[in-house]
Protein backbone atom coordinates (compact mmCIF):
# COMPACT_ATOMS: atom_id res chain seq x y z
CA UNK A 1 0.00 0.00 0.00
CA UNK A 2 1.07 3.55 -0.50
CA UNK A 3 1.19 6.12 -3.25
CA UNK A 4 2.11 5.30 -6.81
CA UNK A 5 2.71 7.71 -9.69
CA UNK A 6 2.95 6.26 -13.21
CA UNK A 7 4.12 8.57 -16.01
CA UNK A 8 2.29 11.48 -14.47
CA UNK A 9 2.23 14.89 -16.14
CA UNK A 10 0.16 17.87 -15.21
CA UNK A 11 -0.37 20.90 -17.42
CA UNK A 12 -1.83 24.18 -16.27
CA UNK A 13 -3.89 25.70 -19.03
CA UNK A 14 -3.55 29.40 -19.70
CA UNK A 15 -5.54 31.65 -21.96
CA UNK A 16 -5.54 30.81 -25.69
CA UNK A 17 -4.71 27.15 -25.17
CA UNK A 18 -1.15 27.65 -24.02
CA UNK A 19 -0.12 24.90 -21.67
CA UNK A 20 2.52 24.84 -19.03
CA UNK A 21 3.69 21.44 -17.86
CA UNK A 22 4.41 21.85 -14.17
CA UNK A 23 5.35 18.19 -13.77
CA UNK A 24 6.38 15.88 -16.54
CA UNK A 25 6.62 12.08 -16.70
CA UNK A 26 6.82 11.46 -12.96
CA UNK A 27 7.29 7.86 -11.79
CA UNK A 28 7.32 7.52 -8.04
CA UNK A 29 6.43 5.04 -5.35
CA UNK A 30 6.06 6.00 -1.72
CA UNK A 31 5.57 3.11 0.66
CA UNK A 32 3.82 3.04 4.00
CA UNK A 33 5.96 4.37 6.84
CA UNK A 34 8.48 6.33 4.76
CA UNK A 35 9.78 9.83 5.58
CA UNK A 36 10.34 11.46 2.21
CA UNK A 37 11.40 15.01 1.46
CA UNK A 38 10.61 16.64 -1.85
CA UNK A 39 12.91 19.55 -2.62
CA UNK A 40 13.72 21.84 -5.52
CA UNK A 41 13.71 25.51 -6.42
CA UNK A 42 10.60 27.69 -6.46
CA UNK A 43 8.66 26.68 -9.57
CA UNK A 44 10.19 23.21 -9.87
CA UNK A 45 6.78 21.50 -9.49
CA UNK A 46 6.88 20.43 -5.83
CA UNK A 47 3.48 21.78 -4.89
CA UNK A 48 1.87 20.49 -8.09
CA UNK A 49 3.26 17.04 -7.37
CA UNK A 50 2.04 16.81 -3.79
CA UNK A 51 -1.37 18.23 -4.63
CA UNK A 52 -2.00 15.03 -6.60
CA UNK A 53 -1.44 13.03 -3.45
CA UNK A 54 -4.75 14.05 -1.96
CA UNK A 55 -6.57 14.54 -5.24
CA UNK A 56 -6.55 18.31 -5.23
CA UNK A 57 -5.21 17.96 -8.75
CA UNK A 58 -5.71 15.09 -11.15
CA UNK A 59 -3.13 14.14 -13.73
CA UNK A 60 -3.37 15.39 -17.31
CA UNK A 61 -1.47 12.25 -18.31
CA UNK A 62 -0.62 9.01 -16.50
CA UNK A 63 -2.18 7.58 -13.34
CA UNK A 64 -1.91 8.20 -9.62
CA UNK A 65 -2.83 5.38 -7.27
CA UNK A 66 -3.51 6.21 -3.62
CA UNK A 67 -3.90 3.24 -1.31
CA UNK A 68 -5.44 1.16 -4.05
CA UNK A 69 -7.67 3.88 -5.48
CA UNK A 70 -6.82 5.00 -9.00
CA UNK A 71 -7.22 8.73 -9.11
CA UNK A 72 -10.40 9.27 -11.12
CA UNK A 73 -10.09 11.34 -14.20
CA UNK A 74 -13.73 12.32 -14.15
CA UNK A 75 -14.62 14.95 -11.59
CA UNK A 76 -18.00 13.42 -10.82
CA UNK A 77 -16.51 10.39 -9.13
CA UNK A 78 -16.17 10.61 -5.39
CA UNK A 79 -12.76 11.56 -4.10
CA UNK A 80 -13.70 11.78 -0.42
CA UNK A 81 -12.47 8.26 0.38
CA UNK A 82 -9.13 9.03 -1.26
CA UNK A 83 -8.70 12.22 0.75
CA UNK A 84 -9.16 10.25 3.93
CA UNK A 85 -5.83 8.52 3.34
CA UNK A 86 -3.74 11.62 2.83
CA UNK A 87 -3.84 14.77 4.96
CA UNK A 88 -2.34 17.89 3.42
CA UNK A 89 -0.93 20.60 5.68
CA UNK A 90 -0.61 23.76 3.63
CA UNK A 91 1.84 26.62 4.11
CA UNK A 92 0.72 28.92 6.93
CA UNK A 93 -2.09 26.50 7.86
CA UNK A 94 -3.17 28.81 10.67
CA UNK A 95 -4.67 31.13 8.05
CA UNK A 96 -7.39 28.51 7.51
CA UNK A 97 -8.72 28.43 11.04
CA UNK A 98 -12.29 29.68 11.22
CA UNK A 99 -14.34 28.11 14.02
CA UNK A 100 -15.45 29.64 17.33
CA UNK A 101 -13.27 27.41 19.46
CA UNK A 102 -10.08 25.46 18.98
CA UNK A 103 -11.91 22.20 19.68
CA UNK A 104 -14.61 22.90 17.06
CA UNK A 105 -11.94 23.75 14.53
CA UNK A 106 -10.15 20.45 15.08
CA UNK A 107 -13.50 18.58 14.89
CA UNK A 108 -14.41 20.05 11.53
CA UNK A 109 -12.45 17.53 9.44
CA UNK A 110 -13.63 14.32 11.08
CA UNK A 111 -17.23 15.59 11.03
CA UNK A 112 -16.86 16.31 7.36
CA UNK A 113 -15.95 12.66 6.83
CA UNK A 114 -19.24 11.68 8.46
CA UNK A 115 -18.30 11.06 12.08
CA UNK A 116 -20.91 11.79 14.75
CA UNK A 117 -20.42 14.72 17.13
CA UNK A 118 -19.16 12.64 20.11
CA UNK A 119 -16.91 10.52 17.94
CA UNK A 120 -15.43 13.59 16.24
CA UNK A 121 -14.87 15.23 19.61
CA UNK A 122 -13.05 12.17 20.87
CA UNK A 123 -10.75 12.16 17.84
CA UNK A 124 -10.22 15.91 18.16
CA UNK A 125 -9.22 15.65 21.82
CA UNK A 126 -6.76 12.87 21.02
CA UNK A 127 -5.24 14.90 18.21
CA UNK A 128 -5.00 18.01 20.42
CA UNK A 129 -3.19 15.98 23.05
CA UNK A 130 -0.81 14.61 20.44
CA UNK A 131 0.23 18.09 19.27
CA UNK A 132 0.54 19.31 22.85
CA UNK A 133 -2.50 21.57 23.14
CA UNK A 134 -3.75 21.52 26.72
CA UNK A 135 -7.45 21.26 27.65
CA UNK A 136 -7.49 24.89 28.75
CA UNK A 137 -6.76 25.99 25.16
CA UNK A 138 -9.53 23.94 23.55
CA UNK A 139 -12.42 26.17 24.53
CA UNK A 140 -10.67 29.36 23.48
CA UNK A 141 -11.06 31.13 20.17
CA UNK A 142 -8.42 30.00 17.67
CA UNK A 143 -7.78 33.69 16.98
CA UNK A 144 -6.86 34.49 20.57
CA UNK A 145 -3.99 32.06 21.01
CA UNK A 146 -0.31 32.38 20.06
CA UNK A 147 0.96 31.80 16.52
CA UNK A 148 2.59 28.52 17.53
CA UNK A 149 -0.65 27.31 19.11
CA UNK A 150 -2.59 28.31 16.00
CA UNK A 151 -0.31 26.22 13.84
CA UNK A 152 -0.69 23.27 16.22
CA UNK A 153 -4.47 23.63 16.05
CA UNK A 154 -4.37 23.47 12.25
CA UNK A 155 -2.13 20.40 12.37
CA UNK A 156 -4.38 18.70 14.94
CA UNK A 157 -7.30 19.28 12.57
CA UNK A 158 -5.53 17.19 9.94
CA UNK A 159 -4.42 14.50 12.41
CA UNK A 160 -7.97 14.11 13.74
CA UNK A 161 -8.94 12.73 10.34
CA UNK A 162 -6.43 9.92 10.96
CA UNK A 163 -4.74 9.90 7.56
CA UNK A 164 -2.05 7.32 6.73
CA UNK A 165 0.06 9.96 5.06
CA UNK A 166 0.80 13.52 6.08
CA UNK A 167 1.89 15.82 3.29
CA UNK A 168 3.55 18.93 4.71
CA UNK A 169 4.09 21.92 2.47
CA UNK A 170 6.80 24.13 4.04
CA UNK A 171 5.61 23.45 7.59
CA UNK A 172 8.21 25.70 9.26
CA UNK A 173 7.95 28.76 7.00
CA UNK A 174 7.52 31.93 9.06
CA UNK A 175 8.28 30.29 12.41
CA UNK A 176 11.18 31.37 14.63
CA UNK A 177 13.96 28.77 15.04
CA UNK A 178 12.54 27.47 18.31
CA UNK A 179 9.05 27.13 16.82
CA UNK A 180 10.42 25.45 13.70
CA UNK A 181 12.28 22.91 15.80
CA UNK A 182 9.19 22.14 17.89
CA UNK A 183 7.01 21.61 14.85
CA UNK A 184 9.54 19.32 13.18
CA UNK A 185 10.06 17.31 16.37
CA UNK A 186 6.30 16.91 16.51
CA UNK A 187 6.12 15.53 12.97
CA UNK A 188 9.04 13.26 13.65
CA UNK A 189 7.25 11.89 16.71
CA UNK A 190 4.10 11.33 14.68
CA UNK A 191 6.23 9.49 12.15
CA UNK A 192 8.11 7.34 14.64
CA UNK A 193 5.50 6.61 17.28
CA UNK A 194 2.35 6.48 15.16
CA UNK A 195 4.05 5.12 12.07
CA UNK A 196 2.62 7.75 9.74
CA UNK A 197 4.13 8.27 6.33
CA UNK A 198 5.50 11.80 5.98
CA UNK A 199 5.98 13.65 2.71
CA UNK A 200 7.79 16.90 3.47
CA UNK A 201 8.11 19.75 0.99
CA UNK A 202 10.79 22.12 2.20
CA UNK A 203 13.48 24.54 1.14
CA UNK A 204 15.34 24.18 4.37
CA UNK A 205 18.22 21.80 3.80
CA UNK A 206 19.06 21.67 7.50
CA UNK A 207 15.62 20.28 8.25
CA UNK A 208 15.55 17.98 5.23
CA UNK A 209 18.93 16.46 6.01
CA UNK A 210 18.08 16.04 9.67
CA UNK A 211 14.75 14.24 9.33
CA UNK A 212 14.15 12.77 5.88
CA UNK A 213 15.29 9.24 5.16
CA UNK A 214 14.74 9.64 1.44
CA UNK A 215 15.16 12.82 -0.61
CA UNK A 216 13.63 13.50 -4.01
CA UNK A 217 14.89 16.49 -6.01
CA UNK A 218 12.65 18.07 -8.63
CA UNK A 219 13.91 20.29 -11.38
CA UNK A 220 11.75 21.75 -14.14
CA UNK A 221 8.97 19.28 -13.32
CA UNK A 222 11.14 16.16 -13.47
CA UNK A 223 12.70 13.97 -10.80
CA UNK A 224 16.45 14.46 -11.08
CA UNK A 225 17.46 12.69 -7.88
CA UNK A 226 15.96 10.04 -5.61
CA UNK A 227 18.04 8.61 -2.78
CA UNK A 228 19.32 9.18 0.75
CA UNK A 229 21.07 12.30 2.04
CA UNK A 230 24.62 10.96 1.81
CA UNK A 231 24.07 10.05 -1.83
CA UNK A 232 22.54 13.45 -2.54
CA UNK A 233 25.29 15.60 -1.09
CA UNK A 234 28.05 13.44 -2.54
CA UNK A 235 26.38 13.27 -5.94
CA UNK A 236 28.50 14.67 -8.74
CA UNK A 237 25.39 16.45 -10.05
CA UNK A 238 24.80 18.24 -6.76
CA UNK A 239 25.80 21.61 -8.22
CA UNK A 240 23.19 21.33 -10.96
CA UNK A 241 20.41 21.03 -8.40
CA UNK A 242 21.13 24.58 -7.07
CA UNK A 243 20.46 23.55 -3.49
CA UNK A 244 22.00 24.92 -0.34
CA UNK A 245 24.23 22.73 1.76
CA UNK A 246 23.23 21.98 5.36
CA UNK A 247 25.27 23.92 7.95
CA UNK A 248 26.72 20.70 9.35
CA UNK A 249 28.02 19.66 5.96
CA UNK A 250 29.57 23.09 5.31
CA UNK A 251 31.32 22.89 8.64
CA UNK A 252 32.63 19.41 7.81
CA UNK A 253 34.06 20.72 4.55
CA UNK A 254 35.75 23.58 6.38
CA UNK A 255 37.20 21.24 9.00
CA UNK A 256 38.46 18.81 6.43
CA UNK A 257 40.25 21.65 4.60
CA UNK A 258 41.73 23.52 7.54
CA UNK A 259 42.64 20.51 9.67
CA UNK A 260 43.52 18.32 6.73
CA UNK A 261 41.26 15.46 7.79
CA UNK A 262 39.25 13.14 5.50
CA UNK A 263 35.82 14.56 4.58
CA UNK A 264 32.80 12.61 5.72
CA UNK A 265 29.17 13.58 5.10
CA UNK A 266 27.76 14.16 8.58
CA UNK A 267 24.57 15.97 9.50
CA UNK A 268 24.45 16.60 13.22
CA UNK A 269 26.61 17.70 16.14
CA UNK A 270 26.77 14.28 17.81
CA UNK A 271 28.13 12.59 14.71
CA UNK A 272 30.70 15.32 14.05
CA UNK A 273 31.94 15.22 17.65
CA UNK A 274 32.30 11.43 17.62
CA UNK A 275 34.07 11.59 14.28
CA UNK A 276 36.54 14.17 15.61
CA UNK A 277 37.18 11.98 18.64
CA UNK A 278 37.75 8.91 16.51
CA UNK A 279 40.34 10.72 14.44
CA UNK A 280 42.73 11.17 17.31
CA UNK A 281 43.85 14.58 16.15
Amino acid sequence: MGILFKDVSYAYKGVKDDRFEAINGINLKIKDGEFVAIIGKTGSGKSTLVQHMNALLQPSKGTVEIYGNILPKKRKQKIGPIRKHVGLVFQFPEYQLFEYTVLKDIMFGPKNFGLKEEEAEKKAREAAKLVGLGDEILERSPFRISGGQMRRTAIAGILAMEPHVLVLDEPTRGLDPQGAKEVMELFNKIHEEYNKTIVLVSHDMNIVSKYAKRIIVLKDGKIVFDGNREELFLSSNFKDFSLEKPLALELMEYLSETLNIPFKPLFNEEDIISYLKELDL
Binding site: E170, H203, L281
Partner: protein, 271 residues
Protein backbone atom coordinates in the same frame (compact mmCIF):
# COMPACT_ATOMS: atom_id res chain seq x y z
CA UNK B 1 27.55 62.38 18.21
CA UNK B 2 25.50 59.24 17.92
CA UNK B 3 22.87 59.35 15.19
CA UNK B 4 20.38 57.56 17.46
CA UNK B 5 20.25 58.37 21.18
CA UNK B 6 17.77 56.61 23.40
CA UNK B 7 17.45 57.58 27.04
CA UNK B 8 15.32 55.97 29.73
CA UNK B 9 12.81 54.63 27.23
CA UNK B 10 9.69 53.17 28.75
CA UNK B 11 6.56 51.79 27.08
CA UNK B 12 3.61 49.67 28.11
CA UNK B 13 0.70 48.39 25.99
CA UNK B 14 -1.58 47.67 28.90
CA UNK B 15 -0.29 49.88 31.74
CA UNK B 16 0.44 46.70 33.67
CA UNK B 17 3.72 45.31 32.38
CA UNK B 18 6.43 47.23 30.66
CA UNK B 19 7.01 46.11 27.07
CA UNK B 20 10.07 48.37 27.04
CA UNK B 21 11.71 49.00 30.37
CA UNK B 22 14.34 51.70 30.79
CA UNK B 23 16.31 51.26 27.58
CA UNK B 24 19.40 53.41 27.10
CA UNK B 25 21.24 53.08 23.83
CA UNK B 26 23.43 55.09 21.46
CA UNK B 27 23.99 54.06 17.86
CA UNK B 28 26.77 55.64 15.85
CA UNK B 29 26.28 56.77 12.29
CA UNK B 30 27.10 54.12 9.69
CA UNK B 31 27.07 51.22 12.15
CA UNK B 32 25.06 48.04 11.86
CA UNK B 33 23.38 47.03 15.08
CA UNK B 34 21.54 43.72 15.40
CA UNK B 35 18.80 43.53 18.01
CA UNK B 36 18.12 39.95 19.06
CA UNK B 37 15.77 38.46 21.61
CA UNK B 38 13.10 35.78 22.05
CA UNK B 39 9.42 36.18 21.11
CA UNK B 40 7.72 38.91 23.08
CA UNK B 41 10.98 40.41 24.32
CA UNK B 42 10.13 43.89 23.01
CA UNK B 43 12.30 43.94 19.86
CA UNK B 44 9.55 45.01 17.50
CA UNK B 45 8.10 47.42 20.03
CA UNK B 46 11.46 49.16 20.14
CA UNK B 47 11.47 49.44 16.34
CA UNK B 48 7.98 50.92 16.34
CA UNK B 49 8.98 53.46 18.98
CA UNK B 50 12.00 54.47 16.91
CA UNK B 51 9.94 55.29 13.83
CA UNK B 52 7.18 56.95 15.83
CA UNK B 53 4.51 54.29 15.22
CA UNK B 54 4.19 54.05 19.00
CA UNK B 55 4.67 56.83 21.50
CA UNK B 56 6.89 56.28 24.53
CA UNK B 57 5.45 56.65 28.05
CA UNK B 58 8.75 57.95 29.36
CA UNK B 59 12.20 58.75 28.06
CA UNK B 60 13.53 60.39 24.93
CA UNK B 61 14.67 59.40 21.47
CA UNK B 62 16.91 61.69 19.43
CA UNK B 63 17.39 60.93 15.75
CA UNK B 64 20.22 62.85 14.13
CA UNK B 65 19.97 65.53 16.80
CA UNK B 66 16.19 65.93 16.56
CA UNK B 67 13.95 64.85 19.40
CA UNK B 68 11.23 62.47 18.32
CA UNK B 69 7.92 64.20 19.06
CA UNK B 70 4.73 65.34 17.32
CA UNK B 71 6.44 68.46 16.05
CA UNK B 72 9.47 66.75 14.53
CA UNK B 73 7.92 63.50 13.33
CA UNK B 74 7.69 64.56 9.69
CA UNK B 75 11.30 65.63 9.62
CA UNK B 76 12.37 62.43 11.38
CA UNK B 77 10.50 60.14 8.97
CA UNK B 78 12.73 61.56 6.24
CA UNK B 79 15.71 60.18 8.11
CA UNK B 80 14.54 56.77 9.22
CA UNK B 81 12.78 53.99 7.32
CA UNK B 82 11.52 50.54 8.21
CA UNK B 83 10.94 47.28 6.34
CA UNK B 84 8.60 44.86 8.10
CA UNK B 85 8.38 41.09 8.25
CA UNK B 86 5.40 40.42 6.02
CA UNK B 87 5.98 41.59 2.45
CA UNK B 88 2.26 41.57 1.73
CA UNK B 89 1.33 43.96 4.49
CA UNK B 90 3.52 46.80 3.30
CA UNK B 91 2.90 46.83 -0.41
CA UNK B 92 0.62 49.84 -0.86
CA UNK B 93 0.97 50.66 -4.56
CA UNK B 94 -1.05 49.16 -7.40
CA UNK B 95 2.20 48.39 -9.21
CA UNK B 96 5.89 48.31 -8.33
CA UNK B 97 6.25 51.81 -9.84
CA UNK B 98 3.53 53.25 -7.62
CA UNK B 99 4.79 51.48 -4.56
CA UNK B 100 8.31 52.90 -4.85
CA UNK B 101 6.85 56.35 -5.57
CA UNK B 102 4.49 56.30 -2.58
CA UNK B 103 6.83 57.76 0.01
CA UNK B 104 8.16 60.36 -2.41
CA UNK B 105 4.66 61.51 -3.27
CA UNK B 106 3.92 61.90 0.42
CA UNK B 107 6.97 64.12 0.73
CA UNK B 108 5.63 66.23 -2.17
CA UNK B 109 8.66 65.59 -4.36
CA UNK B 110 8.02 67.07 -7.85
CA UNK B 111 6.72 64.52 -10.40
CA UNK B 112 9.68 64.55 -12.85
CA UNK B 113 12.02 63.99 -9.92
CA UNK B 114 9.88 61.07 -8.73
CA UNK B 115 10.02 59.40 -12.14
CA UNK B 116 13.77 59.73 -12.17
CA UNK B 117 14.22 58.39 -8.63
CA UNK B 118 11.84 55.47 -9.15
CA UNK B 119 13.73 54.34 -12.23
CA UNK B 120 17.07 54.79 -10.56
CA UNK B 121 16.27 52.79 -7.43
CA UNK B 122 14.23 50.12 -9.20
CA UNK B 123 17.34 49.46 -11.26
CA UNK B 124 19.52 49.41 -8.17
CA UNK B 125 17.46 46.66 -6.51
CA UNK B 126 17.15 44.76 -9.77
CA UNK B 127 13.42 45.42 -10.26
CA UNK B 128 13.59 47.67 -13.32
CA UNK B 129 11.87 45.13 -15.57
CA UNK B 130 9.11 44.72 -13.01
CA UNK B 131 7.94 48.33 -12.75
CA UNK B 132 4.47 47.60 -14.11
CA UNK B 133 3.97 44.32 -12.26
CA UNK B 134 1.30 44.00 -9.61
CA UNK B 135 1.99 42.62 -6.14
CA UNK B 136 0.41 39.21 -6.84
CA UNK B 137 2.90 38.70 -9.66
CA UNK B 138 5.86 39.07 -7.31
CA UNK B 139 7.57 36.67 -4.92
CA UNK B 140 8.07 37.62 -1.28
CA UNK B 141 11.73 38.46 -1.91
CA UNK B 142 10.81 40.71 -4.83
CA UNK B 143 8.28 42.56 -2.68
CA UNK B 144 10.93 43.13 -0.02
CA UNK B 145 13.26 44.51 -2.71
CA UNK B 146 10.57 46.96 -3.71
CA UNK B 147 10.22 48.04 -0.07
CA UNK B 148 13.98 48.61 0.07
CA UNK B 149 13.91 50.62 -3.16
CA UNK B 150 11.16 52.81 -1.71
CA UNK B 151 13.21 53.48 1.40
CA UNK B 152 16.37 54.15 -0.62
CA UNK B 153 14.55 56.57 -2.88
CA UNK B 154 13.62 58.60 0.17
CA UNK B 155 17.32 58.71 0.96
CA UNK B 156 16.79 57.83 4.58
CA UNK B 157 20.02 57.56 6.54
CA UNK B 158 18.79 54.95 8.96
CA UNK B 159 17.06 51.74 7.96
CA UNK B 160 15.35 49.29 10.28
CA UNK B 161 14.64 45.73 9.17
CA UNK B 162 12.17 43.99 11.43
CA UNK B 163 12.51 40.24 10.68
CA UNK B 164 12.46 41.25 7.03
CA UNK B 165 13.60 37.86 5.74
CA UNK B 166 11.75 35.46 8.02
CA UNK B 167 8.84 34.81 5.65
CA UNK B 168 10.99 34.33 2.54
CA UNK B 169 12.24 31.14 0.92
CA UNK B 170 16.03 30.53 1.10
CA UNK B 171 16.70 32.21 -2.23
CA UNK B 172 14.74 35.32 -1.23
CA UNK B 173 16.36 35.26 2.16
CA UNK B 174 19.88 35.14 0.77
CA UNK B 175 19.06 37.83 -1.74
CA UNK B 176 17.64 40.27 0.81
CA UNK B 177 20.35 39.47 3.36
CA UNK B 178 23.01 40.37 0.80
CA UNK B 179 21.15 43.55 0.06
CA UNK B 180 20.97 44.55 3.70
CA UNK B 181 24.72 44.05 4.02
CA UNK B 182 25.27 46.12 0.88
CA UNK B 183 23.18 48.96 2.29
CA UNK B 184 25.58 49.18 5.18
CA UNK B 185 28.84 48.56 3.34
CA UNK B 186 28.30 50.44 0.10
CA UNK B 187 25.63 52.99 0.91
CA UNK B 188 26.90 53.57 4.44
CA UNK B 189 23.43 53.48 5.92
CA UNK B 190 23.02 53.09 9.65
CA UNK B 191 21.27 49.76 10.07
CA UNK B 192 19.18 48.22 12.79
CA UNK B 193 18.22 44.64 12.08
CA UNK B 194 15.76 42.94 14.37
CA UNK B 195 16.00 39.19 14.25
CA UNK B 196 15.83 35.85 16.01
CA UNK B 197 18.54 34.62 13.77
CA UNK B 198 21.97 34.68 15.38
CA UNK B 199 23.52 33.27 12.20
CA UNK B 200 22.57 36.57 10.60
CA UNK B 201 23.20 38.80 13.63
CA UNK B 202 26.82 37.74 13.85
CA UNK B 203 27.54 39.70 10.68
CA UNK B 204 26.63 42.98 12.43
CA UNK B 205 29.07 45.41 14.07
CA UNK B 206 27.32 45.23 17.38
CA UNK B 207 24.66 43.02 18.98
CA UNK B 208 22.07 44.00 21.53
CA UNK B 209 20.24 41.22 23.35
CA UNK B 210 16.82 42.18 24.63
CA UNK B 211 14.76 40.21 27.09
CA UNK B 212 11.55 41.22 28.85
CA UNK B 213 11.84 44.77 27.59
CA UNK B 214 15.35 45.46 28.85
CA UNK B 215 18.83 45.21 27.39
CA UNK B 216 20.27 42.04 28.82
CA UNK B 217 23.64 42.12 27.16
CA UNK B 218 25.41 44.10 24.46
CA UNK B 219 28.70 43.91 22.63
CA UNK B 220 30.51 42.91 19.47
CA UNK B 221 29.53 39.45 18.16
CA UNK B 222 32.63 37.86 19.69
CA UNK B 223 31.68 39.04 23.17
CA UNK B 224 28.09 37.94 22.79
CA UNK B 225 28.98 34.49 21.50
CA UNK B 226 31.43 33.88 24.31
CA UNK B 227 28.48 34.12 26.70
CA UNK B 228 26.27 31.61 24.98
CA UNK B 229 24.90 30.35 28.33
CA UNK B 230 22.94 33.59 28.61
CA UNK B 231 21.63 33.26 25.04
CA UNK B 232 20.46 29.74 25.80
CA UNK B 233 18.83 30.81 29.04
CA UNK B 234 16.42 33.04 27.09
CA UNK B 235 15.65 30.35 24.48
CA UNK B 236 17.62 31.84 21.62
CA UNK B 237 18.70 29.29 19.07
CA UNK B 238 22.48 29.56 19.05
CA UNK B 239 24.29 29.03 15.72
CA UNK B 240 25.19 25.49 14.74
CA UNK B 241 28.92 26.22 14.66
CA UNK B 242 28.82 27.69 18.16
CA UNK B 243 26.96 24.67 19.52
CA UNK B 244 29.63 22.43 18.08
CA UNK B 245 32.44 24.59 19.50
CA UNK B 246 30.91 24.37 22.94
CA UNK B 247 30.51 20.63 22.82
CA UNK B 248 34.10 20.24 21.73
CA UNK B 249 35.20 22.54 24.56
CA UNK B 250 33.39 20.39 27.12
CA UNK B 251 34.44 17.05 25.67
CA UNK B 252 37.09 15.21 27.71
CA UNK B 253 39.05 14.12 24.70
CA UNK B 254 38.74 17.27 22.57
CA UNK B 255 38.94 20.04 25.15
CA UNK B 256 42.75 20.21 25.15
CA UNK B 257 43.09 20.25 21.41
CA UNK B 258 43.90 23.94 21.01
CA UNK B 259 44.24 23.83 17.27
CA UNK B 260 40.77 22.31 16.83
CA UNK B 261 39.10 24.75 19.22
CA UNK B 262 40.83 27.67 17.55
CA UNK B 263 39.64 26.55 14.11
CA UNK B 264 36.07 26.07 15.36
CA UNK B 265 35.97 29.45 17.10
CA UNK B 266 37.30 31.21 14.00
CA UNK B 267 34.52 29.52 12.03
CA UNK B 268 31.89 30.72 14.54
CA UNK B 269 32.91 34.33 13.96
CA UNK B 270 33.64 34.14 10.28
CA UNK B 271 30.58 32.58 8.77
Amino acid sequence: MAIIQIKGLQFSYDRKHEAINNINLNIEKGKWVAVVGPNGSGKSTLAKLLVGLLEADKGTIFIDGLELNQKNIKEIRKKIGIVFQNPDNQFVGVTVRHDIAFGLENQLVPQPEIVKLVNEYAELVGMKDYLDKEPHQLSGGEKQRVAIAGALAMNQEIMIFDEATSMLDPEGKKDITNFIIKLNEEFEKTLITITHDLEFARKADYIIVINEGSIMMEGIPEEIFSQSEILKSIDLDIPFSLRLYERAKKDEKLKDNEKLLEVLWAYCLKM
